[in-house]
């Protein structure tokens, strides 16, 4: 069985190369690679298509492969699959919410009531849509500035190769691939994927050195750059995550608020008209003729904008510089005289 798994691993490493979106050469992989591969190059070359492909792959599997594994109670089912399946209730729930608000419209015979139901149904349906869009896009308001200022891409993906255990009905196809993010865990970031990564440079610590440059904490000690910068990266990743989470729900609420305005009572599928309705509804959201709604709209928008600004302020500037990072396995713990083992 061990041999068989070994053969499978070898065979599937080829298919791993096939999943690199343009990166043909396995040699390009860093020496430290433990079969998982950081997708930094793919993201740089094809940022949109790479992310789209990852998302579509995850979505497809969330509706097909993972539920099958889950319902079988597979011993190879894991937390990643459970989390990926989390997109299923989001999507089916959104569709169901739209249906709940619009489902009975066809049976209303009174024209005035039908129109009123259509107005409400349109707004509610659109509210569900705007909630999702605002929630996803608003995270970028924190993530992009952090990437620009500190060079940390909290969403940087990597392909993870999983060697599965043989099962009663599956003894051959024992390798699967998952798309993770290098910083998805703040307790265990995948530092190993950054060491000796040729994408960032020839040196073992090139990535960390670059981040140190960006953070203005590079003292030229390339050999120890990782130890100095890792705690800082961790700190910024935590801040980015918490603020992008907080603002995403506030902007999602703003999104629903915008969808609840009058211009959307009549839907249009003309792009120009949609644009103009969007602008009008945004204006109405903050300048509603009803004074109470106007104030509430401004307060909600103010909370979202305020939290976004606070998030950017705290993530972009380093207020722990002088105190030293509380999150680090502090440098004093490392015996400088000894050889360090990483990766």
């Amino acid at each position: 069985m061990v041999d068989k798994i070994g053969v499978q691993n070898y065979t599937n490493m080829k298919s791993l190369s096939a999943l690199t979106f343009g990166s043909k050469d396995a040699e390009k992989r860093s020496k430290c690679e433990n079969h998982d591969r950081l997708m930094a190059e793919d993201i740089k070359k094809h940022p949109i298509s790479t992310r789209l492909k990852i998302q579509s792959d995850k979505l497809r599997k969330a509706f097909t492969k993972y539920p099958v594994k889950g319902f079988k109670g597979s011993k190879n089912a894991n937390f990643y699959e459970f989390l990926t399946m989390g997109s299923v209730p989001y999507l089916t729930g959104s569709a169901m919410l739209i249906a709940v608000f619009n489902g009975a419209r066809a049976f209303i015979s009174d024209e005035a009531k039908k129109q009123a139901a259509a107005k409400l149904g349109n707004k509610m349906g659109l509210g569900v849509l705007f909630y999702g869009i605002a929630k996803v896009l608003s995270k970028k308001l924190i993530e992009i500035p952090v990437k620009w200022k500190h060079g940390i891409d909290v969403n940087l993906p990597y392909i993870k190769k999983i060697d599965e255990l043989p099962e009663e009905d599956n003894k051959n196809n024992l390798v699967s691939y998952e798309y993770h993010k290098a910083y998805e865990s703040v307790d265990f970031p995948r530092w190993d994927l950054f060491y000796n990564n040729k994408f960032y440079g020839e040196d073992r610590n090139s990535y960390f050195s670059k981040i140190a440059d960006k953070m203005n904490i590079n003292d030229g000690d390339l050999e120890h750059a990782d130890q100095k910068v890792k705690p800082k990266i961790k700190e910024k990743v935590i801040q980015t995550k918490v603020f992008s989470t907080l603002i995403s729900y506030l902007w999602a609420a703003v999104g629903v608020g915008v969808a609840m305005q009058k211009p959307w009572e009549k839907l249009s599928f003309n792009l120009k008209e949609i644009g103009s309705k969007f602008v009008k509804s945004c204006k109405e959201f903050v300048n509603n003729p009803n004074p109470a709604a106007r104030t509430a709209g401004r307060v909600l928008l103010g909370a979202a904008v305020g939290m976004t600004l606070l998030g950017n302020f705290l993530t972009l500037f380093d207020f722990n510089k002088d105190k030293g990072s509380k999150t680090q396995a502090a440098s004093s713990l490392i015996d400088e005289s000894k050889e360090k083992v990483v990766c």
Binding site: G70, M85, A104, N290, A293
Partner: protein
């Protein structure tokens, strides 16, 4: 390794605090001073379907503290995961608050929070009720079993299938689960099989949760809202009735007259030099206390315009100088004006001034007359071009504001009192009660969907007639009693007479006080529009009339329904037939069976379909085409002879019902008859007629059927969907956790080997 750990464990510097915390909770020293792992403190938490609110509050407090720490860059994966849940709730709460403020109706406002609560409730309850509880009942495995780790963090035991925590099960747990799962007691490695089955069940249950939650939670939430809407409506209704009653009792017309209305004062002081035009007039109207009456607002606008005209038409030296500069001898002008004081000039007419100037010019009589005309024209032209500033009318506006402030707030209290009871908006007591009457009738008749569909199309009441006729006597009486009780409640809760007494008393007080205040400040004309001896056209009259008309309108509609049902019953019993035959005979008309039948149909159709305008045409419109005799017979049968009816069979059968109906008819019929016959001007106006005649039964059936059909259809679709989703989930839950081939093989081996 040991050195590093030792340095961490003994290092108390602030920089290392966070990380040493983790290590200190993981490692300790043995008796010889060597580092060793600490004893595992992880344990299972009591398995409960519903968590304790105290624990929930503690966890929430911890989460809020964690948000603060995470903002500084200190958090772990577990904390970040929990922060996501808290953020979702904060965002949703913010959204519910916005929608609460934006929604105009109280019920809808409340439902925003109810919707939020039921949605989160459904998300939390669905997996517990449809998956966790049934699986636990069947297998003993709590797939959402929680445990507390050595660091004190609460987590789900089966969250990650690759992180096996089944060792936390006690001996008792394993025995209990093994028994329920019927794992062979003779299996050599029984515990392993039990743990495998538990893990498998959890993986399957969690998958079922993910696949079903999106479909179930929104529908479950919507259905729960549907169920909760009725009790919430009742609570809100009671609250509105009580709070407006209290406010009404506390309302004092006098007492706050000294209050200064600051909005207009501020506007005038900031815009004293602004020219009075349409825009500034609009602003002034906005700044004055809102009296919410378009007629009265119109009168205020007229008053301000006349005030401005007066200012413009009042002469002063500046205007005369400006008008005649370079056009009249300056020395003469100065001399004439110098001899007149400002008061004399302001009280003089333009013609007077022109005459004085012409006299002083020393011209001949004929030329003088011509000059007077020219001077008058010049001064008037200049006068008309003069502008009035806001500051010039500021004092008057301030007085007006002060006069109206108490009136405005008092009027609002009375209007809210009326609105909570008989307002036309949905959610008011009258609207809710109308809904209750409708639901009671439709529910009692057990109308099918196809019948409702037919009813909503044309309001054809034959279906209702048939159903009513089919109702056994006891059920018919029960229905009647229920309807009468609702009408009685309506009269008690709105307290028709009591309400009108309160409204007219308070309206008189508030309007009277405002009238006096307006008169004191010199606004006599406006005072007369608020209250007067004649009352007609005043705000006081408007308030009381609106209230009484709404009370009467609803009452008439309720009793029209009762009367219609009564007529149908009388037709069924044959009583109506003899009544109509007698009436036809008395009128010397054909009283054959066919003629009687035709007349009965006409009676029924008048009751079910006649609109106020049909009554206005004495039921001779295209819908009815009654001749004078038929008209008299029908109105006599329908609107007269209440006392005779009381003695009739049906009244004896159900005296209470008839007593109430007869009482209404005796009180209302004279008015309605006058309205129908047009014999009284007061009673024959459209509003009065409408209030007296009530809503036509066909319109009511059609509208009600439409609403009930739609909501029933919605309930059928989504209630059906919920049943299907819940059914599939429950059935799937029942077949999960099957034995593995390995377990079966082991069992087989035991059987074979004995």
């Amino acid at each position: 390794m040991s050195n590093v750990l030792n340095s961490i464990l003994t290092n108390n510097s602030t920089e290392n605090k966070h990380n040493s915390y983790v290590y200190k909770h993981t490692f300790t020293f043995d008796s010889e001073g060597r580092v060793k792992p600490k004893e595992d403190k992880a344990k299972l938490l009591p398995s409960r379907i519903f968590g304790s609110p105290v624990e929930y509050a503690k966890d929430l407090k911890k989460d809020v503290v964690n948000i603060g720490r995470a903002m500084k860059g200190q958090a772990n994966d577990h904390e970040l995961g929990r922060i996501n849940d808290v953020a979702m709730k904060i965002g949703s709460l913010a959204l519910a608050c916005y929608l609460f403020v934006k929604n105009p109706l109280k019920l809808n406002k409340t439902m925003e929070f109810v919707g939020l609560g039921t949605f989160f409730g459904s998300m939390a309850l669905w997996p517990k009720l449809a998956i966790q509880a049934p699986i636990k009942a069947r297998t003993g495995v709590d797939i959402h079993q929680k445990y507390i780790d050595s660091q004190g963090r609460k987590k789900m035991m089966f969250q990650d299938p690759q992180y096996d925590l089944t060792d936390l099960y006690s001996r008792e747990d394993l025995d209990r689960i093994g028994k329920k799962l019927k794992v062979n007691e003779n299996l050599p490695d029984r515990d392993r099989f039990i743990k495998q089955r538990a893990k498998k069940l959890a993986t399957q249950g969690n998958t079922l949760w993910m696949m079903s939650a999106g479909l179930a939670a929104p529908v479950m939430s919507a259905l729960t809202c549907n169920v909760l809407e009725k009790p919430i409506t009742n609570v809100l209704e009671q609250h509105a009735l009580n709070s407006t009653k209290k406010a009404m009792e506390a309302l004092k017309a006098e007492g706050i007259d000294s209050k200064v209305w600051e909005a207009i004062q501020k506007y005038v002081s900031e815009n004293g030099q602004t020219v009075l035009n349409e825009d500034s007039l609009k602003e002034i109207m906005k700044k004055l206390p809102d009296v919410n009456s378009s007629d009265f607002s119109g009168n205020i606008r007229k008053y301000i315009s006349s005030l401005a005209d007066n200012i413009k038409n009042t002469l002063n030296k500046n205007v005369i100088n400006e008008a005649l500069k370079g056009k009249f001898d300056q020395a003469t002008l100065e001399k004439v004006l110098g001899e007149m004081s400002d008061d004399v000039i302001s009280q003089s007419s333009v013609e007077d001034i022109a005459r004085k100037l012409a006299n002083a010019s020393g011209l001949s009589h004929g030329k003088k007359n011509k000059l007077i005309g020219e001077l008058t024209k010049l001064i008037k032209d200049t006068q008309s071009k003069q502008t009035v500033t806001v500051g010039q009318i500021g004092e008057q506006m301030q007085k007006l504001g002060n006069s109206l402030v108490n009136f405005s707030s008092g009027k609002k209290v009375i209007e809210k009192f009326i609105h909570a009871r008989v307002g036309e908006e949905s959610g008011t007591y009258i609207a809710n009660q109308w809904g209750r009457v409708t639901n009671t009738l439709f529910k009692s008749l057990h109308l099918s969907n196809s019948e409702l569909k037919a009813l909503q199309k044309d309001g054809n009441y034959e279906i209702i007639t048939k159903k009513l006729a089919e109702l056994p006597a006891d059920k018919y009486d029960k229905l009647m009693n229920k309807l009468l009780k609702l009408i009685e409640d309506y009269e008690t809760k709105t307290g028709a007479d009591e309400m009108m007494n309160a409204v007219s008393t308070k309206a008189k007080e508030v309007c009277g006080a405002a009238g006096r205040k307006l008169t004191e400040n010199g606004f006599d004309d406006l005072a007369k529009k608020v209250t007067s001896e004649a009352k007609a056209g005043t705000i006081e009259n408007e308030i009381t009339q609106r209230a009484s008309s709404r009370i009467l309108g609803a009452k008439s509609s309720f009793y029209r329904l009762i009367q219609w049902m009564d007529i149908l019953k009388k037709e069924q019993s044959g009583e109506l037939k003899s009544q109509v035959a007698e009436a036809l005979k008395a009128a010397g008309k054909d009283s054959s069976d066919d003629a009687v039948k035709a007349m009965i149909e006409k009676c029924k159709s008048v009751l079910s379909g006649a609109t106020p305008s049909d009554y206005a045409e004495k039921l001779k419109s295209a819908n009815f085409r009654l001749d004078n005799d038929e008209y008299k017979i029908i109105t006599d049968i329908l609107f007269k002879n209440g006392e005779q009816e009381a003695a009739s069979g049906l009244a004896a059968h159900k005296k209470e019902i008839m007593d109430r109906l007869v009482n209404w008819k005796n009180n209302m019929t004279p008015d309605l008859s006058r309205a129908v016959s047009g014999s009284s001007d007061a009673a024959s106006n459209a509003t009065q007629r409408s209030a007296l005649s009530g809503k036509p039964i066909t319109d009511w059936i059609k509208e009600s059927a439409k609403d009930i059909y739609t909501s029933r259809k919605w309930l059928k679709i989504f209630g059906g969907a919920m049943i299907v989703i819940a059914g599939i989930t429950l059935v799937t839950g029942l077949i999960l956790g099957h034995k593995s081939k390995m377990e079966k093989q082991a069992e087989k081996e035991i059987k074979t080997n004995g």
